[in-house]
Subunit: 407 residues, 2 copies
């Protein structure tokens, strides 16, 4: 596997574009298009929130009914959630307009929205945006980056990646873009992630690879514990790599899955590290667990703890909060066997052994916790399983962004 430049336009036959439609933001782009020269097989995972945004319901139907899709139209600024019949109607209108302008089947237009809940989309602006997107679309790396920028809300940077693998002598590419950065506590998948591949692959293999991996990547990040109404991960495959078809449970499937995992973990970590107001990415790694499930439960509880997150913001090695968060995670373990180690670019330090504090240097610990990427490893010494979860620190920036997000 090789990591290459680019994002959603890296795979053969995919184009992208952005447009400044003025939906809610001024002076920036707020609509994006992903377009494929050929219709694509799709796989997707969606929010488990009872309150589902209109575009989530829309996409879910397309994926479930196995309709081939040729484009994704995404807007930022307004989530089109809690918008009732009217909001569903706007999905249909958007899809019709895009199909008309792009000259593709309207049944194959996927949608994505992110932003404020409860506002209706200004349809004239959306339609005008679609016209711009259709005119602008292109296959360069830059076109992909423009799309990744347009879907940002409170994100501070775009998030994209691409990798290639070889399947039977043919180069297969997977690219992706994603956005955070608040209301991030995916229970099924993250806010918005769009993955494109030119692989020839069976629908079953696509679905299996995506579903299995989402639970280890997007579902293991948390910014604020709030599971969004709009969480969506979509994978589009247009088959243009011309490789021998990738089928479930083959060597090629494993290779594809591994590459997809790399893309998903990369994007998931980017979302966590760019959480609202965040200054640091916190990885919680639980090792020595009895089961993978136990390791995941404990790791996720650590990155979800407000107190731990605030301590990280203060570069404070407040390990008691970490042990406390493990304690209320809802899985049994022996706190008096736990070892805890902090690690970052500034070094590594053992903090507790068998549940009790070592005589470590607070100064060194603070130095380690002042880096932008921090890992805390907890060894529960009960078995051989392990898992990681990713979160971020809780800062004044989070309050600033969210105490007045709508204005």
């Amino acid at each position: 596997m090789e990591v290459i430049k680019g994002g959603v336009t890296a795979a053969k036959g995919f184009e992208a574009a952005s447009a400044a439609a003025g939906i809610k933001y001024q002076d920036r782009t707020d609509m994006a298009l992903i377009y494929s020269l050929k219709p694509c097989k799709t796989a997707g995972t969606f929010t488990t929130n009872v309150v589902k945004a209109a575009p989530v319901k829309w996409d879910q139907r397309i994926v479930e009914e196995k309709v081939k899709a040729q484009a994704v139209v995404i807007n930022s600024g307004i989530a089109n959630a809690c918008t009732g019949e009217e909001g569903m109607g706007y999905c249909e209108e958007t899809a019709k307009k895009a199909a008309d302008i792009l000259g593709v089947d309207e049944k194959g237009i996927l949608l994505g929205s992110t932003g404020v809940i409860g506002m209706q989309l200004p349809m004239e602006k959306v339609k005008n945006g679609i016209r711009i997107l259709a005119e602008q679309k292109g296959h360069t790396i830059e076109d992909g980056t423009h799309a990744a920028k347009a879907i940002m809300t409170t994100d501070t940077c775009e998030k994209e990646i691409a990798v290639t693998i070889e399947i039977g002598g043919k180069k297969v590419t997977i690219g992706g873009m994603a956005k955070g950065s608040g209301m991030i506590h995916p229970n099924m998948c993250t806010m918005l992630a769009f993955l494109t591949t030119d692989a020839v692959i069976s629908r079953k293999a696509m679905k299996a690879a995506l579903s299995a991996d989402v639970s280890d990547t997007y579902n293991m990040i948390s910014v604020d514990g709030d599971t969004s109404t709009n969480d969506t991960v979509l994978l589009l495959a247009n088959g243009m790599a011309d490789n021998k078809k990738i089928k479930l449970d083959t060597k090629e499937y494993e290779e594809f899955k591994e590459a997809l995992h790399y893309v998903n973990e990369y994007l998931a970590k980017k979302i966590a590290g760019d959480g609202e107001g965040a200054t640091a990415l916190l990885e919680a790694k639980v090792i020595g667990a009895k089961t993978k499930e136990q390791a995941k439960t404990l790791a996720k509880s650590i990155v979800c703890s407000n107190l731990t997150k605030a301590a990280i913001a203060g570069h404070d090695a407040n390990w008691g909060r970490i042990l406390c968060a493990m304690g209320y995670a809802g899985t049994a373990f022996d706190p008096e066997k736990v070892d805890l180690v902090f690690e970052s670019a500034a070094g590594k330090i053992a903090i507790i052994q068998n549940g009790k504090a070592l005589a470590y240097s607070e100064e060194k610990a603070t130095e380690i916790l002042s880096c932008p990427e921090i890992t805390v490893t907890a060894d529960v010494k009960e078995g051989k399983e392990q898992a990681s979860a990713w979160g971020c620190d809780l800062t004044h920036g989070y309050i600033d962004i969210n105490a007045d997000y709508r204005s």
Copy 2:
């Protein structure tokens, strides 16, 4: 039922005291004593965190073994959690010293600790503190208030209350004190609450009344989603009111339970409203629920949502976040039937009806949300059950307190 002045010393035969032992804080009191002239029956509920502080394990044994207790010794500043064998040893030493100085049975000394996790107690200071407590103890209202002040950590004010009822012509009093204000997400009970009563009451009735009520009061508050290692609610009954014994499932039991509920709800709300950095108490009331459990789940999810809490800090009627929090609570309901109303001393305003925004005045909404006590009522229109949960806003103050709590 009548609300009277005072706290833990309001009931007959109870005394209290505070001492500045210098355990961790300087220039303030940090130890408290509750003392009863006669040995007390006890009931208690404790944290469900796997990581249990030493004093929690200590008290749990006393309550379970039905040992009569005559005193509670409490310290703030250090939690005596994650302190291993050494920490348990200090519990024994503290109890021995207190029993010796107070001249009571050492088996009947209950303990409470709150503060930093992982530090060992400075036992010489603790013992000296006990000497001061024994000298200072008294039965006045002020003695009770002093004790309520000494158990505070990041609390901004002491929390105490007392009520009286009449049981068969005899006056029965229940008093209580509690402390918050971080790591508050009780799963069994809250951080620390101590309740005293002079009622003559069966152990069964005490236990039933306390257990049933804790799930509707302390378990319905959340400051930050972190379930503490030290959560403890203790009820002490010394029988000095000389009333006819209160037994389970009698009219008198119901009266006692109602009075106890008043005390518990009052203290629970005080803890929520005095959450770390909080400027407002947020009550989430869910009505029209199919079951009480559904109402509780939805109400608690609202007060636990960081995004909702940040919106309240900004006096922003961001109802989408409330609906979103209900959506991921883990219970089914129809979002398109929900009505939402905000209410405070500044008035009342309907925000959404049947899941969609009404044309309400944002200005009026902001005025209502700028009060120190706010209620949001969500009607899910599925049945007749209801429940309330209490939380607070998420502010810069929370970050300030927790990014550097240990120093």
